[in-house]
């Protein structure tokens, strides 16, 4: 008589914001790998194999912004500045900032024990997350 037991999301506490963020941090790490792969493959398709060195390809993969490939031997920069890459870069930026800021909050918890101080750190982190994302988006969409 092996029973099958399952619990709903609410029953197992996944409505807790911190728990959701914990899962988000795991999934966002995977998303970052995926987006980097997209950048890497895209660069190779667009001619990086002959016209760029390894360092520039990596720079592009980690942030597919056209300014990152301007100083290479590329003949035509247009495909590198397409909306597709702006969207990819935006996604990478948003996911990476949220992932990184949440990681910092978790580390800060190891050093800051007071409930009030922790709230303050969370507030600061949210401010930092929003402003960094904003500045990043501005740079991506105006370059």
């Amino acid at each position: 008589m092996t029973t099958k037991r399952t619990l709903s999301i609410k029953q197992r506490g996944l409505t807790n914001f911190e728990a959701v963020m914990w899962i988000f941090t795991r999934l966002s790490a995977l998303a970052i790998y995926g987006l980097i792969l997209v950048g890497l493959i895209g660069a190779l398709i667009m001619g990086a194999r002959n016209q760029m060195n390894f360092a520039d390809v990596m720079r592009w993969a980690f942030m597919p912004n056209v300014t990152h490939v301007q100083s290479t031997d590329l003949q035509d920069l247009n495909p590198w500045a397409s909306p597709f890459w702006k969207l990819t870069a935006s996604a990478l930026l948003l996911v990476a900032v949220a992932h990184g800021v949440h990681g910092l909050v978790v580390i800060a918890d190891d050093y800051i024990a007071g409930a009030g101080a922790r709230k303050f750190i969370r507030f600061l982190s949210i401010v930092m997350m929003i402003s960094m994302s904003g500045i990043g988006l501005y740079l991506i969409w105006t370059s």
């Binding site: 092996t2 037991r5 619990l7 197992r12 506490g13 728990a19 978790v106 918890d109």
Partner: protein
């Protein structure tokens, strides 16, 4: 053989901070570190304080740091650690005297896990036991072996950094009930562990698994609790 044992000493009535004292005793390589401590207490210095009870790895009283790693003194042979031994209290809990630490925070975390069977359903028709298949029993067998010695929790860097983390031992206890098909409060326990100081604080350092004198695969058990939290599946 001659055994040199360096022991952390702290007397709250006299000392501002701890210090080490070295004792040389005549012992055997098959002696356990606990025997050596008894020799020191019996022959050299009766003020030495440490916990022990069963002396056979059952009660979980004598977890301590032996040559830098958490062990039960009663399960550690001199021949395995050498004739130069350093013994210190476990880390992360306040030292009360010598090798004795304040276990209250540890047991507080244990109690938070609701460490008892919760089942409000009516008893089976015959009014006797709630039956369980051998497979269902095997599901949580590993975590029933915990003796609450605290070797795992006090070896955990996340716990050292942040004493509010419930710690591996508490999660082992939660695991024992969460995966018990007769228990009905898995959800409540998972909700407690979904809090900031719950399973998210485990960064898979694996120190707990290495420290456990009962050889419980603690990191794996914590992983199973994490998966149950994510998928909602308790089998």
């Amino acid at each position: 053989m001659e055994i040199t044992i360096k022991i952390f000493r702290y007397d709250p009535e006299k000392d501002v901070r701890g210090h080490y004292e070295t004792y040389v005793v005549e012992g055997d390589e098959n002696d356990r570190v606990l025997d050596v401590l008894e020799l020191v207490k019996g022959k050299s210095d009766g003020t030495l304080a440490f916990r022990r009870s069963c002396a056979h790895g059952v009660c979980g009283s004598d977890a301590m740091r032996i040559n830098g790693r958490n062990h039960l003194a009663c399960k550690t042979l001199v021949r395995d650690v050498g004739a130069n031994i350093t013994v210190e209290p476990v880390l992360g809990l306040k030292v009360k005297k010598d090798l004795i630490v304040d276990m209250d925070p540890f047991f507080d975390n244990y109690k938070k896990m609701l460490p008892y069977m919760i089942n409000e359903s009516p008893l089976p028709a015959d009014g006797r036991e709630r039956l369980q298949s051998p497979e269902d029993r095997a599901r949580f067998d590993e975590t029933t072996k915990c003796i609450l010695c605290a070797a795992c929790t006090t070896s955990c860097p996340s716990y050292w950094a942040n004493g509010e983390y419930y710690g591996p031992a508490a999660i082992v206890t939660a695991h024992r009930f969460i995966f018990d098909s007769r228990d009905e409060a898995a959800g409540e326990r998972l909700q407690i562990l979904a809090e900031t100081d719950g399973v998210a604080r485990c960064h898979t350092a694996y120190n707990c698994t290495e420290a456990c004198p009962r050889e419980i695969k603690i990191t794996k058990a914590i992983g199973e609790v994490k998966m149950a939290m994510i998928t909602g599946k308790l089998d």
